[in-house]
C-alpha cells in the first residue's frame, strides 16, 4: 500500500500513551478518509473522458429530436452511438477498476479504524489493544514520532494487562483528563460509545459505524436472515393415495395432460410478464412493459416511477401489481392516492386489470369496523385519510405485500407526517409514483429514495456533502455517481424517448344564452341547493343529492325534472315549497337552448362528414338529445353503461360506419377504438377535471392523427360556466398535455375533491357576483398550482434529462 506520510503528531501537554494512540488513530482515520476520496474521484484517461462526453452529447441531442421522428439512418446512427458509448464506458470501467479497488480497500481500513476507535473510547484493555494492533498493522505511512507513540502505547497497554488495578486508576485519570483536554477533532463516535452499550450487544452496536457496515458480519446476517424454513406440505391429497392403494387409476392420456398442465403452470423468474393476456383495454406500450419488468427484476419491487405526465405511471404500477398478484406474491395491497384520485384508481384497477379494491366508503369495508384494515386485503385510500389518527395505527400493524403511493411528491418532506407514516408501513414492495420527484431541492429526491431504500444515497449529511453543491441545494455534484445510484431505484420515461406524441387539442367554449324559463328553473334549483346545503343551509338534504341536482340543472331540464320528481315522491319532503316551485318551472320549459346550439354546431359550423362524439353525464339528457338529433335529421348512435356488450359493439360500429354523431355517457367507452373521430362536444361538463380529461382521452390518444377539437357548451352565470372559466381561461386545461391537469390539481394543496370545492364555493355564495368572485380566487389558486407544477417539471427535466428510461 503506497501512501504519503501522515502529518506530524500534535504535541501534547502531558504524556498520555492512550490518548496519543487515539489521536494517532484519528489522524490515520482522516488519512484513510482522504485516500478514499482521492481514489473515488479518479477519472479515466483524458482522451477517453473526452470521447465519452462527445458521444454523450451526441446521444442526448439526437435523443431529444428522436421524438420528432428520426429517419432510418438517424436511428442507425443513434444505435451506433449508444454502442460506442457502451464500449467507452466499459473501457473506462477497466481503467478505473484499480482505483475502485484501492478505494474499497481504504474504505475497509476506514471502517475498521472507525469501529476500533469508537470502542477504544472506553478503557477496556482489550479494545485499546485491538486499536494498537490495527494501527501497527497499518503502520507503513507513519512518521518516526508516530512509531514512538506506538511503542509507548504498547508498553502502557502491556502494563495495564499485567496490573488491572492500574487500568482502573488510569481510566479515572483518563476521564478527568478528558474533561480538561479538548477532544480530538473528527474522532469518530466521540464519547457516545460509552453510553452503556458494550460488545455483547454487538448486533446493532456494530452498525453505528457506517463504514463497518459495508462488510456485515455473517453471524449478524444470519440473525436477521432466517435459514430456509422447513418444507411445508399442503394438506396431502388423501384421495390420491387411497385411489393408488385401491388401484383406481385415471386414463393415461389424462395423466399426460396433467403433467403438461403442471409444467405449463410453473412460475419462473420475471423474464416475461404473465399478466399481459389478462389486461383489458390497456394500450400496450413497450416502455411500460419494460418499466414493469425492470421494477420487478432489477429493483425487486421497490421503485420510484416518475415518467413524464401522460405516459401512464398508473398503468406501469398496475402491471407490476397484476404480475405480483398473478404469481401469488402480492395478496395484501394498499394504494394511497390524493382524495380526488381514489375513484379513478379503483375504476382503472377494475376495468383494466380486473382487480377489485375496496375504498373506505364501501359497505364491505365498513362492515368490518375497527378490524377493516386487517380484514380487507386490497384497499385504496387517500393518503390523508390513511394517516389520520383513526386509521394509521391499524395500517401500520398490517403487513402489506405491496404499497403504491400515487402523487408521491407529497412525501418529499422528511419531517412531514405523510413521510413518517409511509416510512412506518410494513411492505415487501413499494412503488412511489410522481412526475415531479424534486421540486425545490435535492433533499426532496433524497427523501423519496430513502423511503424505498434507506442508505441508497447514504446518510443525509453524506448525501449533501457528496452530491449537493454547497452554494446551491438545487444543483447536484458528482452527477455520474448520483445517476448510477438513482438508476437502481428510479425509472423516468420521457415523451421524446418513447416517441409518444399526440396531435394538438383545440378547445372552443360555446356560450349558451338560456331562455327566461330555463334561467328561472336553474335559479330555483340553485336556491334549493343553497337552502339545503350541509353546513351552510339547514343541511337536511344530502350533499350528494344536491350535487346531482345542481349538475343536472346544468345538463338538461329532462334530467333535473326526473330527480325533482323523485324527491317529491319521497315520504319525507324537505323544502317542499322550493321543490314544488322548481317542479312547476321545470314543467314550463319547452325548448332547450343548448340543444339548439348543438344542432346549429353540427349543421353549420362543422363539416357534414365530420364525426362528432357528444358527451353527457345523464341518461335522460342522452335520450333527449337522441330525439332532438333525430328530429333534426342527424343520424346518431348511443353509448351508455346500460347497453350489453353486443349492443355497445353494434352502436360503435354504426358510428364508425354511417352515423355522424355518437351520444355517449361517461360510462364504459374506455379502450374503445374511436380514432376515426376527432371532435368532442361536452354537452354538459363534469365538475371533476379528471373526468373531462377522460372524455377527451377517448379520441386524443395514440393513433389519433388529426388535431382534436373540443366544444364546451355552458351558460354564463351557471356553475358549469364558472368551472369552464377557471379551467379554460385560467389554466388552459383543454390544451394541456394529457395528465397535466392531474399534476396541477395535485399542486393545489387541497384535501377536498375538486367537485366538492366548486360545490362549496357555489353553494356558499349568495349571488352570482359573489360566486364569480370566489371562482376567480379559485382560478388564481389554480394558476399558482400550474406555475409550481411547471417549475417542478423544468427542474426535473434539467436534473434527470433522458437518463432514466426503462431498459429494453
Amino acid at each position: 500500500m503506497k501512501a504519503e506520510p501522515l502529518d506530524p503528531p500534535t504535541p501534547t501537554a502531558r504524556p498520555d500513551p492512550v490518548r496519543d494512540l487515539r489521536s494517532l488513530a484519528a489522524r490515520l482515520l482522516e488519512y484513510a478518509e482522504r485516500q478514499v476520496e482521492h481514489f473515488e474521484h479518479q477519472r479515466g484517461p483524458e482522451w477517453l473522458e473526452r470521447q465519452l462526453a462527445q458521444w454523450e452529447a451526441f446521444i442526448r441531442e439526437t435523443s431529444a429530436v428522436a421524438g420528432l421522428g428520426l429517419d432510418y439512418r438517424g436511428g442507425r446512427e443513434l444505435a451506433e452511438a449508444k454502442r460506442i458509448r457502451r464500449q467507452l464506458q466499459r473501457a473506462r470501467e477497466d481503467a478505473l477498476r484499480p482505483y475502485r479497488r484501492a478505494a474499497e480497500l481504504w474504505r475497509t481500513i476506514r471502517g475498521r479504524l472507525a469501529a476500533a476507535l469508537t470502542k477504544a473510547r472506553g478503557h477496556e484493555v482489550q479494545n485499546l489493544k485491538a486499536l494498537l494492533v490495527l494501527v501497527e498493522e497499518l503502520g507503513r505511512p507513519l512518521a518516526q514520532a508516530d512509531r514512538r507513540t506506538l511503542k509507548e502505547a504498547r508498553a502502557h497497554i502491556r502494563r495495564l494487562e499485567v496490573e488491572p488495578a492500574a487500568a482502573s486508576r488510569d481510566a479515572a485519570a483518563g476521564d478527568r483528563g478528558a474533561a480538561s483536554t479538548p477532544r480530538l477533532p473528527d474522532a469518530p463516535g466521540g464519547d457516545v460509545a460509552r453510553g452503556g452499550r458494550n460488545g455483547a450487544s454487538s448486533a446493532t452496536d456494530a452498525s453505528t459505524s457506517g463504514a463497518a457496515a459495508s462488510d456485515p458480519d455473517p453471524r449478524l446476517l444470519a440473525r436477521y436472515l432466517p435459514p430456509p424454513a422447513e418444507l411445508e406440505f399442503e394438506p396431502e391429497d388423501r384421495g390420491m393415495l387411497e385411489r393408488l392403494a385401491a388401484q383406481r387409476y385415471d386414463h393415461p392420456a389424462d395423466y399426460r395432460l396433467n403433467q403438461a398442465a403442471q409444467r405449463l403452470s410453473l412460475l419462473g423468474g420475471f423474464e416475461v410478464l404473465l399478466c399481459t393476456p389478462l389486461l383489458r383495454g390497456v394500450e400496450q406500450h413497450a416502455f411500460q412493459f419494460n418499466t414493469a419488468l425492470q421494477v420487478m427484476r432489477a429493483m425487486r419491487g421497490r421503485a420510484l416511477l416518475c415518467d413524464e405526465v401522460g405516459l401512464g405511471k398508473t398503468i406501469e404500477a398496475g402491471l407490476v401489481l397484476k404480475e405480483y398478484a398473478v404469481r401469488g406474491l402480492a395478496r395484501r395491497i394498499l394504494i394511497l392516492t390524493p382524495p380526488s384520485l381514489v375513484t379513478q384508481w379503483r375504476e382503472e384497477m377494475r376495468d383494466k386489470f380486473a382487480i377489485e379494491f375496496l375504498t373506505l366508503d364501501d359497505p364491505e369495508f365498513r362492515r368490518h369496523g375497527d378490524g377493516a384494515w386487517e380484514a380487507c386485503e386490497r384497499v385504496i385510500a387517500s393518503l390523508h385519510t390513511a394517516k389520520s389518527p383513526k386509521n394509521r395505527e391499524s395500517i401500520r400493524r398490517t403487513a402489506y405485500d405491496l404499497v403504491i403511493v400515487d402523487e408521491a411528491h407529497h412525501l418529499r418532506n422528511r419531517g412531514s407526517l405523510s413521510w413518517k407514516f409511509v416510512n412506518q408501513l410494513k411492505s415487501k414492495y413499494l412503488l412511489l409514483l410522481t412526475a415531479t420527484p424534486a421540486q425545490n431541492d435535492l433533499d426532496e429526491l433524497y427523501n423519496l429514495i430513502t423511503l424505498l431504500c434507506p442508505g441508497q444515497l447514504k446518510s443525509p449529511a453524506d448525501f449533501r456533502r457528496e452530491f449537493v453543491q454547497r452554494d446551491d441545494p438545487r444543483r447536484p455534484r458528482n452527477r455520474t455517481k448520483l445517476r448510477e445510484l438513482l438508476m437502481d431505484v428510479m425509472v423516468r420515461n420521457t415523451r421524446s424517448q418513447v416517441s409518444l406524441r399526440l396531435p394538438p387539442r383545440e378547445a372552443t367554449t360555446l356560450r349558451v344564452g338560456l331562455s327566461p324559463a330555463e334561467r328561472s328553473l336553474y335559479d330555483a334549483v340553485t336556491r334549493m341547493v343553497r337552502a339545503g346545503y350541509p353546513g351552510l343551509g339547514d343541511g337536511r338534504l344530502q350533499r350528494v343529492a344536491l350535487q346531482t341536482l345542481q349538475a343536472e340543472a346544468g345538463s338538461s331540464v329532462q334530467a333535473v325534472r326526473a330527480t325533482l320528481g323523485a324527491m317529491r315522491r319521497r315520504p319525507v319532503v324537505h323544502h317542499a315549497a322550493l321543490l314544488d316551485a322548481a317542479l312547476e318551472l321545470a314543467a314550463g320549459v319547452e325548448t332547450s337552448s343548448k340543444a339548439m346550439v348543438l344542432v346549429d354546431l353540427l349543421r353549420r359550423r362543422l363539416e357534414p362528414s365530420e364525426k362528432v362524439l357528444v358527451f353527457t353525464q345523464y341518461l335522460e339528457t342522452q335520450a333527449f338529445l337522441l330525439r332532438v338529433l333525430e328530429e333534426a335529421g342527424l343520424a346518431a348512435a348511443r353509448f351508455n353503461g346500460r347497453l350489453t356488450a353486443a349492443e355497445r359493439d353494434a352502436e360503435v360500429a354504426a358510428f364508425a360506419r354511417d352515423r355522424r354523431v355518437l351520444v355517449s355517457t361517461d360510462v364504459g367507452s374506455e379502450g374503445r377504438n374511436l380514432h376515426f373521430c376527432h371532435t368532442v362536444v361536452n354537452y354538459d361538463l363534469p365538475w371533476n377535471p379528471m373526468r373531462i380529461e377522460q372524455r377527451v382521452g377517448r379520441v386524443h390518444r395514440i393513433g389519433q392523427t388529426e388535431p382534436v377539437r373540443i366544444f364546451n357548451l355552458a351558460a354564463p352565470g351557471t356553475l358549469e360556466g364558472h368551472i369552464l372559466e377557471v379551467l379554460d381561461s385560467k389554466i388552459n386545461m383543454f390544451e394541456l398535455v394529457v395528465g397535466e391537469i392531474g399534476e396541477i390539481l395535485g399542486n393545489l394543496e387541497e384535501e377536498r375533491e375538486f367537485e366538492d370545492i366548486v360545490l362549496d364555493l357555489w353553494a356558499s355564495a349568495d349571488s352570482d357576483p359573489a360566486a364569480a368572485e370566489r371562482f376567480a380566487e379559485l382560478g388564481e389558486r389554480l394558476v399558482g398550482a400550474r406555475r409550481r407544477y411547471l417549475d417542478s417539471r423544468a427542474y426535473d427535466d434539467a436534473l434527470f434529462g433522458q437518463d432514466f428510461a426503462a431498459q429494453e
Binding site: 395423466y255 403442471q262 409444467r263 410453473l266 442508505g455 443525509p460
Partner: protein, 382 residues
C-alpha cells in the same frame, strides 16, 4: 430424483389445447395462422365464458375482436390448465422388464454387495419372476422469498424396498412407460401407498432442503447488500445524532455518559448547564432510540422478505409396474441363519441394494450383528 423443468415451459401449447379439448370430447380445427377454432364440450364451456364454440388466438398478433387469447396466463388457458390439472392425478403404467436374468444371480450379488461377519448361501439355482412396482410421486414445490419460483420434483419410491429409487429417478424421463395392463405375474410384496408417500416426503424434504440452501446462498448475497445498506444508513444517522447529543451535553456542561433522564433534572440545570441544551440532548436521545428501533424493524422486515419458504403439493402419482427377478440368499451368523430376499432389476441391470435393518437406508455393504441383524457399516460401527 428427477427434477423437471425449472423455468417457464416451452411446451407445445397448441398440442396441449388440442389434446385437452379432444380428450374432454370436443374438437379443434386449425384456423388462420396462430389461431385454433374449438368446439368445446360442456365440461370446458365455462373456460370460454359459457360459449361452446370459440376462436382461440395463440399469439397477440392473432387477436382480433372475435378471438379469445389462449396465451399463457389468459383466462381460457388458465381454465384449461385447471381442468387438466384436476384430472389424471392417479395413473399407472408399465416399465419394460429389460434384460431380466433368472440364472447366474449369485455372481451379480457378489459383484454388487459385500457381506461381512456372515456366510452366504444360495439355496435356489434360479429366481422367480414377480411383478414389482414403483410409486412415482410428482410434487410441485414453490420457493418463496422476495420472488416466487416453482419446480416439479419427481420422486420414485420402490414399493418392494420402500426406498427412493435413485437409479430409476435418473432414467425415468427417458424410459418408455407403456399404458398397457401389467403382465399377469405373481405380485412381489409391496409397501403401502401411505408408507411410500412418507418415504417420498422425507426424500423430498432433503432434496428441497439442499436446493433451498443453494438458493439461500444467492438470496444471502442480495440480502447482505441490502442489509449493509440499511445498517450503514442507520449507523450513520445514529452516529451523527449521537455526536450532536454529545456536543449538546458538552456545551451544557454535563457528562454525556449519563442517560437522558438522569442527565439534568429540570430544576438543577441552572447549575449544571443551559436547560435548553439539556432538553435538546434529551430530545436527541429519543431520536437516537427511535432510529435504533426503526433500524431493527427495517432489518427484521428485510429478513422476512428475503427468508426462503418452501411449499410442496402432491400434484399426481403414478404406479409403475415392472417384472423383476426375486431370489433368496441365506446368511449364516454363528448358529443363526437369516433369509434375505433380493430383487434383480432387468431394466437397470442390477441387484437392488438391500436396506439396513437399523437406519432403513439402502446399502451395498452389510454386516451381520451377533444377533444376525443386517446393518450398514455406519450402524454396525455405532
Amino acid at each position: 430424483m428427477t427434477v423437471a423443468n425449472l423455468e417457464p415451459p416451452t411446451l407445445d401449447l397448441p398440442g396441449f389445447i388440442r389434446s385437452c379439448v379432444e380428450r374432454a370430447g370436443g374438437a379443434v380445427d386449425a384456423g388462420a395462422p396462430g389461431r385454433l377454432d374449438a368446439l368445446l364440450p360442456p365440461a370446458l364451456e365455462a373456460a370460454a365464458g359459457g360459449r361452446s364454440w370459440v376462436r382461440l388466438a395463440l399469439a397477440a398478433d392473432a387477436l382480433d375482436e372475435g378471438a379469445e387469447s389462449a396465451a399463457l396466463g389468459s383466462p381460457f388457458l388458465d381454465a384449461l390448465i385447471r381442468h387438466a390439472a384436476g384430472r389424471g392425478t392417479v395413473a399407472s403404467g408399465c416399465l419394460p422388464a429389460g434384460r431380466l436374468k433368472r440364472k447366474g444371480l449369485r455372481g451379480e450379488v457378489e459383484g454388487a454387495l459385500l457381506f461381512s461377519n456372515c456366510r452366504t448361501r444360495y439355496p435356489d439355482d434360479g429366481a422367480d419372476v414377480r411383478l414389482s412396482a414403483t410409486a412415482q410421486f410428482d410434487f410441485k414445490v414453490a420457493f418463496l422469498s422476495e420472488e416466487r419460483r416453482e419446480r416439479l420434483y419427481v420422486v420414485p419410491v420402490n414399493l418392494f424396498s420402500n426406498q427412493v429409487n435413485l437409479a430409476l429417478a435418473g432414467r425415468l424421463a427417458e424410459l418408455p412407460v407403456e399404458a398397457d395392463p401389467a403382465p399377469v405375474l405373481p405380485l412381489a410384496p409391496l409397501a403401502s401407498a401411505q408408507a411410500a408417500y412418507e418415504v417420498a416426503c422425507r426424500a423430498l424434504r432433503e432434496l428441497v432442503g439442499r436446493d433451498a440452501a443453494r438458493h439461500q446462498v444467492r438470496v444471502a448475497q442480495r440480502f447482505s447488500v441490502e442489509f449493509a445498506r440499511i445498517r450503514g444508513y442507520y449507523g450513520e444517522v445514529i452516529e451523527q445524532l449521537e455526536r450532536r447529543r454529545a456536543r449538546e451535553l458538552e456545551r451544557a456542561g454535563t457528562d454525556s455518559t449519563t442517560g437522558p433522564r438522569e442527565a439534568a433534572p429540570a430544576g438543577e440545570t441552572g447549575e449544571r448547564g443551559h436547560p435548553d441544551r439539556v432538553a435538546r440532548a434529551d430530545e436527541l436521545a429519543q431520536r437516537i432510540e427511535a432510529a435504533r428501533q426503526e433500524r431493527e424493524r427495517k432489518l427484521r422486515e428485510l429478513g422476512e422478505t428475503y427468508g426462503i419458504r418452501t411449499r410442496a403439493r402432491l400434484a399426481s402419482v403414478r404406479c409403475l409396474w415392472q417384472p423383476k427377478a426375486f431370489f433368496k440368499v441365506l446368511l449364516d451368523r454363528g448358529a443363526v441363519t437369516r433369509t434375505l430376499v433380493l430383487a434383480y432389476d432387468g431394466l437397470l441391470e442390477r441387484v437392488e441394494p438391500p436396506t439396513c435393518e437399523s437406519c432403513r437406508r439402502e446399502t451395498s455393504r452389510l454386516r451381520a450383528s451377533p444377533t444376525a441383524r443386517l446393518l450398514c457399516p455406519a450402524c454396525a460401527g455405532a
